[in-house]
Symmetry: C2
Subunit: 257 residues, 2 copies
């Protein structure tokens, strides 16, 4: 039978600057009586990497530039917060009272460059995304492999709004050792017709699946182990999250919104 099982690691500790996330995951998995196995996919919320990698900044330490002051006027946001966003931004896509949307330095399209303060201690502290999420995922994967002897994949995720539909869902923002896509183009369906378009972004579906157990509030379960992914390929070390991103020019949806 094709089954997939996901376990949330409970009683995950608060991650501190310079913590080794991979080591913590292995320890907490053991304490949860979960034996990490080959081909497990470890899905982790970006915030634990942000904390470990000292990506938490206080507005007290930020000086707003003129550009940030101007965007602060357009958005109603604290100019120092806008300065943090601009630091992480390649292109500002929209700046209004409702939304400050950017393409960030990693190529991700996200509100406020993914910067927020949920589950961050201190009233003026904000977490930036990991600088290079693929690198963070790779380091975590290699640590887990070293400590357990098992070949796993790591997916780092964050929760974003999307066009056309209300609410947010979890997306992959970094990964190591797993496939990004399951590509059906050129394959046949039940009746032998060749599929022309289907190229499923499974890494985003993995992120969304794991969120069902993670939660966004005070649950304290930022890591989920996914086991039994159908059709998982051999460990894929070459995939990079930027293969998911798309230039505005190439976006099928250009001109729609």
């Amino acid at each position: 039978m094709k089954s997939l099982i996901m376990h949330a690691l409970e009683d995950f500790p608060l991650v501190r600057a310079c913590d080794d996330v991979g080591r913590i995951i292995v320890e907490i998995a053991e304490r949860n009586h979960i034996t990490i196995e080959d081909n497990d996919v470890v899905v982790a919320a970006q915030k634990i990497f942000s904390k470990a990698e000292k990506r938490v900044f206080s507005l007290k330490d930020v000086v707003a530039s003129k550009r940030a002051e101007k965007l602060s006027g357009a958005t109603g946001k604290d100019p120092r917060f806008v300065e943090l966003v601009l630091h992480e931004t390649r292109i500002v896509l929209k700046a209004s009272r409702e939304i400050l949307l950017v393409k960030d330095i990693r190529g991700l399209v996200c509100i406020n460059a993914g910067i927020d303060k949920s589950n961050i201690e201190g009233d003026e502290n904000f977490a930036l995304l990991p600088e290079k999420p693929d690198r963070s995922a790779r380091k975590c994967r290699l640590t887990i492999q070293k400590l357990t002897g098992k070949r796993v994949a790591v997916v780092i995720c964050d929760t974003y709004s999307r066009p056309f539909r209300r609410g947010q869902v979890n997306f992959a923002i970094g990964m190591s050792g797993t496939e990004l896509f399951r590509d059906y183009r050129g394959k046949k369906d039940l009746f032998g017709h060749v599929l022309k378009v289907k190229n499923v972004a499974v890494v985003d579906e993995i992120a969304s699946a794991a969120e069902l157990l993670m939660g966004q509030g005070a649950e304290g379960t930022p890591v989920v182990i996914v086991r039994g992914l159908a059709g998982s390929k051999e460990l894929d070390e070459k995939s990079r999250i930027r293969e998911l991103t798309i230039s505005s020019k190439d976006d099928l949806f250009k001109g729609v919104l």
Copy 2:
């Protein structure tokens, strides 16, 4: 331990016009030695409902209107196929060589109004989405409840492209008996800060999770049973998929693409 388990129903038969999808699901679950339990979420690909509800049409039986002829010129698509799309369309959002994107009569934004021919028998046959997917889900849910005595939820899903990112992911297009959102607004995070924005569209995450076991080709596993959803509310009979849809005017992303 917080766990979630998903089972794909294997050896699912080809669904025919007028089949009772709920009854088939119960029978095939039994044959897979899966006992349906209270609070299971049954996730099903839209195509099995399209087939059962006689929503498969042959281009041979379609006469293209003038508008369809015109859009055929812009898109390079068969005018009869465009006619089928227009039949399901409220607003054409974009018509180019690359994409025919519409807001459909159900309020869903999707390419070709969700019409395609994968896993449909016959060279000129295409499946339209179920006319009222919430109604299809409700009927299926009540049949399963009647046959098993268990209170389940049903989510009907389809795989769509999205802006900003390559590839497709599974989205919910109809549902009965489950929550659409997990709303954190007004709740507190680990440090007591009140969350202002987070309202997670869990029904879409459920659809994406199930796709990991379904596949899009010749797998023949259009139904997945999801068990152990954290935070599932009591059976929610009032939710409607249209709560997910958003008017262009209210879309945060308006003007971005």
